[in-house]
Amino acid sequence: MADQRDIVIKTAKVSKSFPGVRALKELDFEVMRGEVHALCGENGAGKSTLMKIIVREYTEDEGDVFIEGQNVKDTGIRGVQTLGLSLIHQDLNLIPMFTVAQNICLGREPLSRLRTIDWKAMRQKAAGFLNEVTSEINVEERVENLSNSQQQMVAIARSLVTSPRILILDEPTARMDLKASNSFFSFLERAKQKGLTVVYISHRLEEIYRICDRITVLRDGRKIVTARTLDLPQTELVKYMLGREITQQVPKERVPIGEVKLSVRSLYPKEKGEDIHFDLRSGEILGIVGSIGSGKSEMARALFGADSKKEGTLSVNGKEVIIGTPRDAIEHGFALIPEERRAEGLVGNESVRKNITLAALKKRFCGGPSWIKQDLEVQTVKEYIKMLGLATPSTEKEVQFLSGGTQQKVVVGKWLMTDASIYILDEPTKGIDVGGKYEIYKLIVDLARQGAGIIFISNELTEVLALCDRILVMFHGRIIKEVDASKANQEELLFYVMGGRDYAETDGNSKRYH
């Protein structure tokens, strides 16, 4: 192919294991000078690991990494920076109470003759770098007052301070709004013209096809393909990312779908959402998919009253309700099972009993103003343990010692006890082993059979397709597509999740996205 001198990053048979996982397997990867190279793959494919090895935050177990032809085995983080490499992490690591200028110049503040900070020079220096990315941010503003998009811009500007020749961006647009990503793309185009090499990790098709010259697809820690963007149709890319069909045992039975339980009209979670309308029927499992930053968790929190900023109307069983706080939500039969169940859904060092009865304590077990009817409580919890099939030796076991799947069932049990009928499950199977997942699917189907309406938020497309009746795809805070789960396939769904518009038309016909 090209001249060896034009290969700026090269990994040769790089492997890396973490306890219990082989993150990368004999991976060969090359980036050419001056190109924008997209790195694609599902969550857990090994993209971030590979980038962290390249910038020497991790060390490979086997294989070699070359930057500008130089083996960087013994080079540290600072060392590769002097080779011209700069990585912008997904978590930006800015200092919120500092100004934009202070953040951009951190560690490289211009000094006056008295060795004090030369604020004027600092503002100019910061503005110089910032203007390469955007002209919409005041360098004297504090970072904590900036939007997510603007903070991302500041992080990018900061990475330019070391005058890098190779820029690695890990999902930079995940937190950006549309306008910000537009100005980000014009920055990328200018950078490219100046000869900067860019490695670009993204989950968005539109961006990849707009800016990238070549694409490398990773899956399960292996490189699947590297191809020129022009030669790789979008549908093809999606197939590479997903790989073979993974058949998963999901106990789907069609539950009769009843009346509308919940209808949502014009919900605006914070600044993110626009035009969110949908209905949820009893017995229905409604899937919601979307990549990071698509606003699906925000929507869940808004529905539950956990985020105060929202408008629009909610109706439960045909009656309009006002939900301002989680307390209102519980009153109307909502149950939220949050993504971070250990932090938000459970009291880890308390017993199974106390966790399960937490939400229903007042309603069901209180005699006087605050007297708990202990006997009744223990009796009921025992019934629930049996009903849910909880793998716990007793009602008093602390939940932190239970498996992830069992913990999740405890959270579900907690809401069952409140007679909830609208369940919002945010990534309920995240970090749970296969057996545990199966149990949770069964539980969800049982809930549906009993007439509950279920909103199932997940990043795992296989389970969404298998379990749900209908699927809504979110992108940039909007619902962009409604899919009938029985008719869709994974590739089509991933295509929409990545912001594709019309699958049937694109498939095999046109190669370019516009």
Binding site: R78, N93, I95, M97, N103, G107, I117, S135, N138
Partner: protein, 320 residues
């Protein structure tokens, strides 16, 4: 470019406790007889000196997101050594060096325990406080030692122009701390590492070294506070650090509500120190029974902090 907007809310939020301080001063000047007299004001300033200097040390530490309570012992130990060595007839120069070395030593000890061994700063520094208290008790055997050397006492009793020398020391130290904090890289990084240590390390700043340095600086300031306090009183009273323990904390945390909402800062600490002694002095001048003064102080503090918490959730306590 977007315009930076400052709303009235921001002002109340950032300067609310400052208003409370001003209102307090105005009310006292009308109600408490002799409050505005030069002598009373001078007393407030002089009394605030050792508290203020000690609180500057703590302010540095709070900025890094840690805490250091060792001053509760260091002040007393330095006082005992100062008075004891003077009594034995050692020259003031040597005595001063020894006193500052105590601060250097305890600062280094704190740095080793907290930065190197990674012990929680609250416990580690309280342990150092107890050790110092024990050392103080062993050194002076529980006896109050008076300083009779008038030349030495003149250091703190002198006036520079019309201003008492102590007040001058306080303001010079304040100016140095403030300039360091706001105008140098050192100050930036100290604040930065308290806010987001990863961000600071990512750009290649040696955060651990910096944090150790902060504990040493704090130790020196604590020792200097003990030195001044002992000279001001004219002798070493047992456990004089314990008296200041909560006052210093109160000054720093009150300071967090004055200028930068929720963040330790030097002007805030200085005003906080004045505020505490103004209340004490004003209520006393009003003829309030001495045992009721703390109650009144407490109430005013609650009001002051509440005023600056207009925007709910905005005042965060400094974490340590």
């Amino acid at each position: 470019m977007q315009k930076r907007t400052v709303t009235p809310k921001d002002i109340i939020n950032n300067y609310g406790a400052m208003f409370a301080f001003i209102v307090t001063v105005v009310v006292f000047s009308f109600t408490a007889r002799g409050f505005w007299s030069g002598r009373n004001l001078e007393n407030i300033l002089i009394q605030s000196t050792s508290l203020g200097i000690c609180a500057f040390g703590l302010t540095f530490v709070l900025m890094t997101g840690e805490i250091d309570l060792s001053y509760g012992g260091v002040i007393g130990l330095v006082g005992a050594v100062l008075a004891g060595m003077l009594k034995e007839g050692h020259p003031i120069g040597l005595v001063t060096m020894v006193c500052l070395s105590i601060g250097l030593g305890t600062g280094l000890l704190n740095a080793i325990l907290i930065v190197v061994l990674k012990l929680p700063s609250f416990l580690a520094s309280v342990a150092v406080m107890f050790i110092c208290m024990g050392a103080e008790r062993v050194y002076n055997q529980g006896i109050t030692t008076w300083i009779r050397d008038t030349e030495v006492l003149a250091i703190v009793q002198a006036h520079i122009g019309p201003v008492p020398s102590l007040v001058v020391y306080l303001f010079i130290l304040f100016a140095i701390c403030w300039v360091f904090q706001t105008q140098t890289r050192f100050g930036q990084y100290v604040r930065g590492l308290g806010e987001n240590i990863v961000a600071v390390q990512e750009v290649g700043i040696r955060a651990m070294l910096l944090k150790s340095l902060v504990f040493v600086i704090a130790g020196l300031l604590f020792a200097f506070a003990g030195y001044i306090e002992t000279l001001r009183i004219g002798g070493a009273v047992m456990y004089s650090g314990k008296q200041l323990l909560l006052f210093v904390l109160a000054a720093c945390f009150l300071g967090t509500t004055i200028f930068k909402a929720g963040k330790a800062n030097f002007p805030g600490t200085l005003i906080g120190a004045f505020f505490l002694y103004t209340l004490l002095s004003g209520f006393t001048a009003l003829g309030m029974k001495f045992y009721l003064v703390p109650v009144a102080q407490g109430l005013i503090l609650i009001i002051a902090v509440a005023v600056s918490s207009v925007r709910r959730g905005r005042i965060e306590q400094v974490q340590f």
